[in-house]
């Protein structure tokens, strides 16, 4: 008995006593976490390393994240080298055989989707932050959310076969709900087809491919590299000539440069969240598109017709 007390006390002191609810899932980004939560429900405990309002390219490899990875049963990441600057260190420092590359607890969500913008021909660093395997911002197309949800459900079923039915039900519910919404969003944004915007970073390719909107130019002429004044003045001229009224940028970007360009071009900056948690009221994966669709409608249709 005395021994038991000692053991309990030791566990409390060491903080190892916490029994987790089911599968412990760690995701690199908040969009993956939101989907995993809907699929896993109460059978999983989900934590995201990056917040929804954080640029996932520039997450710091804090040792505290290594602890998270150390205790995970499943690590889900975006892949396509989005997390290349920090995730390798977290996996190495996490010392968790269950989630290393090749293990069942390691899920590269990019395997579920068809990447856009895989560079053709030679790639080098004069092009800026190029992702040789394709553009990693694929969860900004909700149809990719459907696909990623399916692979997450599949993997959870492998890891916790007892709860396989729950995951299957949750997946059906998630996909049905999202498909319904996608149909509504597509109707609402049909008027946006062929409309032109300027983007700050190569963040929105999947979104515009879904919506049929065209990106006529970028504030960053090379991804991840600040723009030259010459590029910006050419962009302003182009925006004026084509009457482009909106610059779309992620809400974690310092909008100063985009604002300067917008002011001179008679346009406005639309700062959008890129993941759940990115803005107040955006909690679920579907909320993200409610906000994005609403904002695009507001700025591309209503403002233009008011002109």
């Amino acid at each position: 008995m005395k021994h038991l007390h000692g053991a309990v006390l030791l566990c409390l002191l060491l903080g190892v006593g916490q029994v987790a609810a089911g599968v412990r899932v760690v995701t690199t980004t908040a969009d993956l976490a939101a989907i995993a939560m809907e699929i896993g429900g109460e059978k999983v405990e989900v934590k995201s390393i990056a917040r929804g309002y954080q640029d996932p390219h520039y997450v710091q490899a804090k040792p505290s994240y290594m602890r998270l990875v150390n205790r995970a049963d499943l690590l889900i990441y975006t892949g396509l080298q989005l997390e290349v600057g920090w995730l390798p260190l977290l996996i190495e420092g996490g010392r968790n055989p269950a989630i290393v590359s090749g293990a069942r607890g390691n899920l590269d969500a990019a395997h579920a989707i068809e990447p856009l913008e895989i560079p053709v021909g030679e790639v080098d660093r004069t092009m800026g932050d190029i992702h040789p395997e394709g553009n990693p911002h694929y969860l900004l197309d909700p149809r990719n959310g459907l696909r990623v949800a399916a692979v997450i459900a599949e993997r959870l079923q492998e890891l916790a076969p007892d709860d396989a039915e729950v995951f299957a039900e949750n997946l059906v519910r998630f996909q049905r709900d999202l498909q319904g919404r996608i149909a509504v969003w597509e109707q609402r944004v049909a008027v946006l087809e062929k409309k032109k915007v300027v983007a700050y970073h190569k963040q929105w390719e999947y979104l515009v491919a879904w919506l049929g909107v065209e990106i006529a130019g970028y504030v960053e002429n090379r991804p991840g590299i600040p723009s030259s004044p010459r590029h910006l003045s050419a962009l302003i001229t182009q925006m004026r000539a084509n009457e482009i009224g909106v610059i779309v940028c992620a809400n974690f970007v310092d909008p100063a440069t985009a604002k300067r360009v917008a002011d001179k071009a008679g346009a406005r900056v639309l700062a959008l969240p890129i993941a759940p948690g990115g803005e107040k009221g955006v909690e679920r994966y579907a909320d993200l598109f409610e906000v994005i669709v609403e904002d695009l409608e507001e700025n591309l249709v209503r403002v233009e017709s008011a002109r």
Binding site: L14, G15, V16, R51, Y53, Q54, D55, Y58, V59, Q60, A61, K62, P63, S64, M66, R67, N70, Q81, V84, G85, W86, L87, P88, L89, E92, G93, R95, P97, V100, G102, R125, G128, G224, I225, P226, N251, F252, V253, D254
Partner: protein
């Protein structure tokens, strides 16, 4: 036999398919798919000093130690104190190769060229994969886990030269030894990593006359997230081993690091403060030499591509004030991308009552595989 040749045929059929996927196949049949990740760091340096010549300072130092070395018939360390000279120079080129060996091991190799000739093995780490209980085993040659600065490669140094205390106690290239490292992630409610290292004892500090004498090192690193944007790290190290006199050298160190970086606009502003203390007690038999020192370092990123840094160095505690060395440094860095930086440093040093100034301009670049950034 039939089975084996069958397997072989099957393999022949399978190999081209998998190679086509990775795109690593070449016409000669030599695949690039399993080449290690390779990156190269280069440091180009221009330096000016108001002292007799920096080289002079280095030599002066080397001479002090020479007597010791000759006494014990030991080889002189070639690049004793970082080998910084006046004028233009290639300060260092580092080639890093990294790859998984098999499902059980990972190998990381760092070759360094100091100046424009000669190549040396700076680090070779063979690390275990998938040991249970939060354990990692590393064997090879590596920078000992003594505090913060000693674990940095030259291109990661916050300033052109290492802190005075590291340079004086551990030599210009730090405490770098062949050894074994056992690292343990303790199952506590914060990040606590314990390193126990067995070092071969080839360095200036632990150059025991008997080849079988080892040095032993322990390091504890604690890390807390104070909030979403701020972190605190507290570390302690201790090492001991036999020195060239056949007696014991003991090292003690402590380090404190505070970092702030906003989560939302992470790339525009950040702040870091670090303090590190190191102390050595070297028993020479007839006398015991006790020396220590510290540095205080501040880094402030005030724009996306601009950094300001300051550092105060003091070495020679607990000696008299005239016997101490001190240095105060300021640095401004322009960092156009993750892969290059241009840094201008000014230092004012006071060495045994004599003052001198130094000015450095350094270009730091990385090519090859994308490096992950340690926190």
């Amino acid at each position: 036999m039939l089975f084996i040749s069958g397997c072989f045929l099957l393999m022949l059929c399978l190999v081209p398919a998998s190679q086509a996927q990775t795109g690593g196949a070449t016409a000669t049949g030599t695949s690039r798919a399993f080449n290690p990740a390779i990156s190269v760091n280069g440091l180009l340096l221009g330096g000016f000093s108001s002292a007799e010549g920096m080289e002079g300072h280095v030599e002066e130092h080397a001479e002090e130690h020479d007597e010791e070395h000759e006494e014990h018939g030991e080889e002189e360390h070639e690049h004793d104190h970082g080998g910084i000279e006046e004028g233009l120079q290639v300060q260092e080129v580092e080639i890093q190769l990294s790859s998984f060996v098999d499902p059980y091991l990972k190998a990381d190799l760092t070759l360094a060229m100091h100046g424009s000739e000669g190549i040396e093995l700076e680090e070779l780490r063979v690390t275990s994969l998938g040991l249970p209980a939060g354990l990692t085993l590393t064997v090879g040659k590596f920078y000992a886990a003594l505090g913060k600065h000693n674990q940095l490669h030259t291109h990661q140094f916050p300033f052109v030269k290492p802190p005075l205390v590291n340079e004086h106690l551990l030599g210009g290239h730090g405490l770098n030894e062949v050894g074994i490292d056992v690292s343990w992630l303790a199952p506590v409610s914060w990040y606590a990593e314990l390193n126990a290292q067995l070092l071969n004892g080839d360095s200036e500090l632990f150059a025991a006359p008997d080849g079988t004498d080892m040095a032993y090192l322990g390091h504890l690193k604690n890390f807390w997230e104070l909030g979403e944007s701020t972190t605190l790290e507290l570390g302690g190290s201790s090492a001991f081993g036999r020195n060239a006199h056949g007696h014991t050298t003991q090292l003690v160190g402590g380090d404190l690091t505070f970092k702030w970086r906003p989560t939302r606009r992470a790339i525009y502003r950040s702040l870091m403060f670090q303090a590190e203390y190191l102390y050595a007690a070297r028993d020479h038999g007839d006398e015991e030499e006790k020396e220590g020192g510290f540095y205080l370092l501040g880094q402030y990123q005030f724009a996306r591509r601009w950094w300001l840094q300051g550092q105060y160095d003091l070495f020679g505690l607990p000696k008299e004030e005239e016997e101490r060395d001190s240095r105060i440094s300021g640095l401004i860095a322009f960092v156009p991308s993750e892969f290059s930086s241009l840094r201008l440093q000014y230092s004012h040093s006071s060495k045994e009552g004599e003052d001198f100034d130094e000015l450095f301009l350094q270009l730091n670049f990385t090519i090859g595989s994308h490096p992950a950034h340690r926190y």
